[in-house]
Symmetry: C2
Subunit: 335 residues, 2 copies
């Protein structure tokens, strides 16, 4: 029986609760996965717990009605969960790439307490992944992060299990749906500003689009790719980074004239003893497996020794049931 | 410690031995996978065994030198392996779609004896998958078949683990590299006969190409897709089947005029209480994730509830380290 403590109950956390509630019987029958949500910690909705398991349907009804969780369990905090009332923490607080707080603190404390952690939070991964992996190993628990790479398209679980036995030589990816959407619209004739405005209107891009269009989000994902796929820890500043905000219709046309498409590509490859990581717009020939990936879609191509190139393509942010990334990691813990 | 008995030592079986030998240390360090190949049964190279494990390097040297395995172990047969000398049988004898022999007999006997089976053999899957799955369940062992679907591109392991928690609603695939190569060459201007001859010269197509070009191979794969992804057993005759041998340049041009590409698509989808399975050439719009899959490449698109469409693209037959499909299943048994 998994005793799940959910920390951060925004869209991702609620998405997890929704799936857990809707598929309770299915998860038990198909995967032998049984659970209780023993506590939810959220500064806005309220923090409540029940050692026998909260009424998840009641939590969802409160959230859907814009109401607080108050009264749906005893008032709790993270420490209450870590005193034996959770064996896994689902950490889904917002990403903060400056100091990774408060997520980093939550994850450190949970791992130190011997809880597994599944998390969609990119901040702790960017700033402290080696530390957190070492802490998890030391305590004999897992820190799983499927959601930080492709918003739920399961590239990390693919590499860990379905590609087991292969050596991964390099990985190239379209890892930021916003910039891929903008480049696709520019190919269709929009200029950069109009394409960005459209991405913002559709909710793909933030009001301040810097993290996406200057390649910072992709650079964090290159860090994850280097660490998880090639076993090499990098700082975000180790990633050579160029965004797309300088691109014009002339660049798109120049690529097209060569029979290519411009894509913002994150790439990690072995280089001597280390790993070289880059984020930059690249002209890809149409035969390249990533050239046809259009719109707010993500994709990764693994170059492997046994299988050559294997590519996974799936939805980027905003197109997925956001709780799935946490669920797949919970089910992996259960195997 | 896995005691592996290899039955059928052609290209696939030798490929497995090659990987096992080359990566012995790596498999132990990364996956905790330790093994001995206790016996090899092959009517052409000879059948030899050693309870302490054969010298795999010596087997490979004999095969590379065109020599028999005779003298590299004691003379054995499958029964010897099944008397406790193997806990997993890797079955890689040639596919026979008429009566599935001798593979079906090997797999039945191995499962009945309580051995796990990993197999690339499509015959037993097409003719007896439900029977073999039931037998495996009854004996508490696994019958794993990654290699029968996409020649090693790990679609079955992807669906079982990386997509865990999703419901798979339908699956569409380019599952036959030979026909995809022929259609790609026809798009480039070759007529059907010339494209087929080229596929034969490159070793993609057999001298008698019927199984590929009339869609029989794809229909068997549709059976696998229906069974493994949608939980429904079909006979091969339940698959509506149309091949590509009737297609002409005019069909290719007609698709192109609509902004589409012609692809031979295997599809399974839920339909009422059952599953509808089809193999047919389809005009796919260029935005379709399978439209850009060219040459002897395979791909599957899973339509899921939580992640929308997730596509995996990888090499078809002839482009892969053929033992990888067996290895990934061996490593899955080890988890």
């Amino acid at each position: 029986m998994w005793k799940i403590g959910l920390v951060g109950c925004g869209n991702v956390g609620l998405g997890l609760l929704r799936i857990l509630e809707a598929k309770r019987g299915d998860l038990e029958n198909r995967y032998g996965f049984t659970y209780a949500v023993t506590g939810v910690v959220d500064p806005f909705r309220g923090s409540v717990g029940d050692e026998r398991g909260l009424d998840v349907a009641a939590l969802l009804a409160a959230a859907d009605g814009g109401k607080s969780f108050r009264g749906l369990g005893d008032p709790i905090d993270l420490d209450w969960l870590l005193e034996g009332r959770a064996n896994v923490i689902a950490e889904a607080t917002p990403t903060n790439l400056v100091d990774a707080m408060p997520g980093l603190d939550h994850i450190r404390r949970a791992l130190a307490a011997g809880c597994h952690v599944v998390s969609t939070n990119k901040g702790p991964v960017s700033l402290a992944l080696p530390e957190l992996q070492a802490l998890a190993r030391e305590r004999g628990v897992q820190y799983r992060i499927e959601g930080v790479l492709l918003s739920g398209t399961p590239a990390i679980n693919l590499a860990g299990e379905a590609l087991a036995g292969c050596d991964i030589l390099s990985v190239q990816g379209i890892v930021n749906g916003t910039t891929n959407f903008i480049l696709t619209r520019m190919e269709e004739g929009a200029d950069y500003g109009a394409a960005l405005a459209e991405a913002q209107a559709l909710g793909y891009a933030e009001t301040d689009p810097t993290a996406d269009v200057e390649g910072w989000d992709a650079a964090v994902k290159a860090q994850v790719m280097a660490n998880v796929f090639l076993g090499q820890s990098l700082a975000v500043d180790d990633v050579e980074r160029l965004g797309i905000s300088h691109l014009t219709g002339a660049d798109i046309d120049a690529a097209r004239a060569k029979g290519c498409r411009l894509k913002l590509i994150a790439e990690v490859e072995r280089s001597g003893e280390g790993v070289r990581a880059t984020v930059a717009p690249r002209e890809l020939p149409l035969s390249h497996p990533l050239a046809g990936v259009s719109g707010a879609i993500n994709a990764l191509t693994f170059r492997t020794d046994h299988l050559g190139d294997v590519t996974i393509v799936g939805p980027g942010a905003g197109r997925v049931e956001t709780g799935q990334a946490l669920l797949v990691d919970l089910l992996a813990l259960n195997r």
